[in-house]
């Protein structure tokens, strides 16, 4: 079983859902994000947040995946002050929706004053409602931006064990772990973190407070990144215990602090969920071994055809 803790499923197809379920992914978390271009008004935020708490959750359930989300104003759009004010106003309407497991992705992009203001305001909201926080670390000036994100979270009295720092790399992981935060790694084909680098991270740092995700979205990304990384770790003789922590247990533990995600949701779904929202994971229910394949015709030789990209 795998949990992909960072997926933008609104940008993915039904083929992706089918492949994810077949590869053993039982649940995914959809952080609020921008659309690839800036939103121009709060109305499009409202519809987006309703979508990830609504139809996308339903859609995932039809393919046997449980779907969760995080809500927040992303740092890029924090620079539109009028929009940012309006979004902060409506966030409390969404923060306690069913399946909202954190406030996020929040943090810095260019580390502007406005980004700082709304990052802090959202940390306060997370504190008030006892929700974990998912922090998006900046692509540019990453190391400094990551250190600053953590310092500000601590300044606001947030317990680091409730905060996930996402999109880590070899340069940031030590500082994040030393300060008691969770370190997530987004496995992107070609860029940022590749699967092999992730294996090295686990070799060097173990699995304590470390996990990986696919961050699959509308760009070049791979919704099977988590199961593929697990397979690569297996080939590198990393223990099943560590693999399970990095691809399933750790994200479940930190986002589970919200009270909104628990393994019972897919192992023993509530009767009402089974009737209405969740068709179950037929692969796992059938007791079959999850497979990681690009092509069903090649299922028999899953390992041989596994493409690590």
């Amino acid at each position: 079983m795998f949990l992909d803790s960072h997926t933008h499923m609104v940008s993915r197809t039904t083929d992706d859902y089918e492949r994810m379920a077949a590869a053993g992914i039982v649940a995914c978390i959809e952080p609020s994000f921008w659309l690839g271009q800036p939103r121009t008004n709060v109305g499009s935020y409202i519809d987006y947040l309703s979508l990830i708490c609504g139809f996308e959750r339903f859609r995932a359930g039809q393919f046997g995946l449980r779907h969760y989300c995080t809500v927040g104003l992303n740092p890029k759009e924090a620079n539109n002050e009028e929009l940012a004010e309006a979004v902060l106003e409506i966030l409390p309407r969404y923060a306690l929706k069913e399946g909202v497991v954190a406030i996020g992705e929040i943090g810095y992009d260019e580390q502007t004053a406005l980004e700082d203001k709304y990052f802090r305001a959202q940390l306060e909201l997370a504190k008030e409602l006892s929700l974990p926080v998912m922090i998006h670390t900046p692509h540019r000036d990453k190391h400094q931006g990551t250190l600053r994100s953590m310092a500000v979270a601590v300044e606001h009295g947030i317990d680091p064990s409730w905060v996930v720092i996402d999109h880590n790399n070899e340069e940031t992981v030590r500082d994040v772990l030393d300060r008691g935060f969770w370190a997530a790694f987004s496995i992107y084909p070609h860029t940022k973190m590749g699967n092999e680098r992730m294996v090295e991270i686990v070799r060097n740092y173990g699995a304590e407070r470390i996990f990986c995700d696919s961050a699959c979205d509308w760009g070049v990304s791979d919704p099977l990144a988590v199961p593929k990384t697990a397979e690569l770790m297996r080939r590198a003789n990393i223990s099943e215990t560590l693999i399970r922590k990095v691809t399933y247990e750790n994200p479940l533990e930190v986002y589970g602090k919200s009270g909104q995600i628990a393994d019972a949701h897919w192992l023993k779904p509530a009767a009402i969920d089974q009737r209405t929202l969740y068709m179950g994971n037929s692969v796992l229910r059938g007791g079959q071994t999850p497979k990681i394949t690009e092509d069903n015709k090649q299922e028999g030789s899953a390992l041989g055809n596994l493409r690590i990209v």
Partner: protein, 315 residues
């Protein structure tokens, strides 16, 4: 032919009488809140029950917008999502409080949320509608199902008609069913076109017709035509046709519908044969009687009441 349905006289129940949300109305809404609260409290821990009573009280006394959202958000956390599982006595009280109200498959959090919504805006029916619309616009799936199931309990039912129709257009089957199934709202408020679209959509999304209240009373000739067209379209594509479709065809079946039904009497599928017999027996035309007359066994089953739409449903 049965008389055309008169829409003006229906929907007149105790909690929804006049255009103004007056004193009598408030009492009635209060009794619904009390009934729901009783069910919720009886199924909650002491702490959860105390929380719930406190929120009902708080929302009843000019709450802030945030109070309302947080109370609704905490509802599943505090009350859980177990089935309400009402006793026969409790169900009888529901039906007595509001005719047609059927909460038999509600969950505890749904009952709780509907009580909270009812408690949150009592000034007048228009203010209530405004509040409810805002809640609908930012609702998650669980809240949508609850708010739609609550439709028969809200003041001034006609104010919620556009919203109810929105529910029957949903791409999410459980949302559609929250309006369409075990809910007296559509039969009391939908005009013919809305009704017909709902029935057809139920078949389209693979939902059942039997749980729709008023299925027989609201049958009408345009619906008969739409369903026959739909059945032919399915056949042409080599796809199965849900036998309960014919229930809404029988009473108004025209010559071509009767021909379709007569052909089904020799279908290899026993449920199709039975559905055709039931539909033809509802037609009251000579053509229908004559088609049925050569199928003595089925005819007898219908006449003696051994075969009904509910017994068909049970199979």
């Amino acid at each position: 032919m049965p008389p055309r349905l008169n829409l003006s006289g229906i929907g007149q129940v105790s909690c929804q009488t006049t255009s103004i949300y007056g004193a009598a109305m408030t009492t009635s809404t209060q009794s619904l809140i009390d009934l729901l609260t009783g069910w919720v409290v009886a199924r909650s821990t002491e702490d959860a029950a105390a929380w719930f009573r406190g929120e009902i009280k708080r929302l009843g006394a000019s709450p802030t917008e945030k109070d309302v959202y947080l109370a609704l958000g905490y509802a599943t956390r505090k009350l859980g999502k177990a089935d309400l599982d009402l006793s026969p006595e409790e169900r009888a009280r529901a039906a007595a409080a509001r005719s047609g109200w059927d909460p038999s498959d509600w969950s505890i959090d749904q009952a709780g949320r509907i009580a909270l919504v009812l408690a949150s805006s009592r000034s007048d029916a228009h203010a209530f509608r405004k509040r409810l619309e805002q809640l609908f616009n930012t609702a998650d799936i669980g809240e949508l199902i609850a708010f739609y199931r609550g439709l028969p309990l809200y003041p001034e039912p006609s104010l919620h008609l556009p919203r109810a129709r929105e529910g029957t257009r949903s791409a999410m089957q459980p949302i559609f069913e929250a309006v369409a199934h075990r809910n007296p709202y559509p039969k009391e408020n939908f005009d013919e076109n809305a009704w017909n679209q709902m029935v057809l959509k139920a078949l389209f999304v693979g939902s059942r017709l039997a749980p729709i209240q008023g299925l027989d009373e609201r049958a009408n000739p345009p619906l008969m035509r739409m369903l026959c067209d739909y059945a032919r379209e399915r056949r042409a594509a080599g796809r199965p046709v849900a036998p309960e479709l014919w229930r809404c065809v029988g009473p108004f079946a025209d010559a071509s519908a009767i021909a379709d039904l007569a052909a089904l009497l020799t279908s290899p599928d026993v449920t199709e044969r039975r559905a055709a017999a039931l539909a033809l027996s509802a037609s009251r035309t000579d053509a229908a009687s004559s088609a049925l007359s050569s199928h003595e066994g089925l005819l007898q089953d219908v006449k003696t009441g051994r075969l009904t739409w509910s017994s068909l449903d049970a199979k």
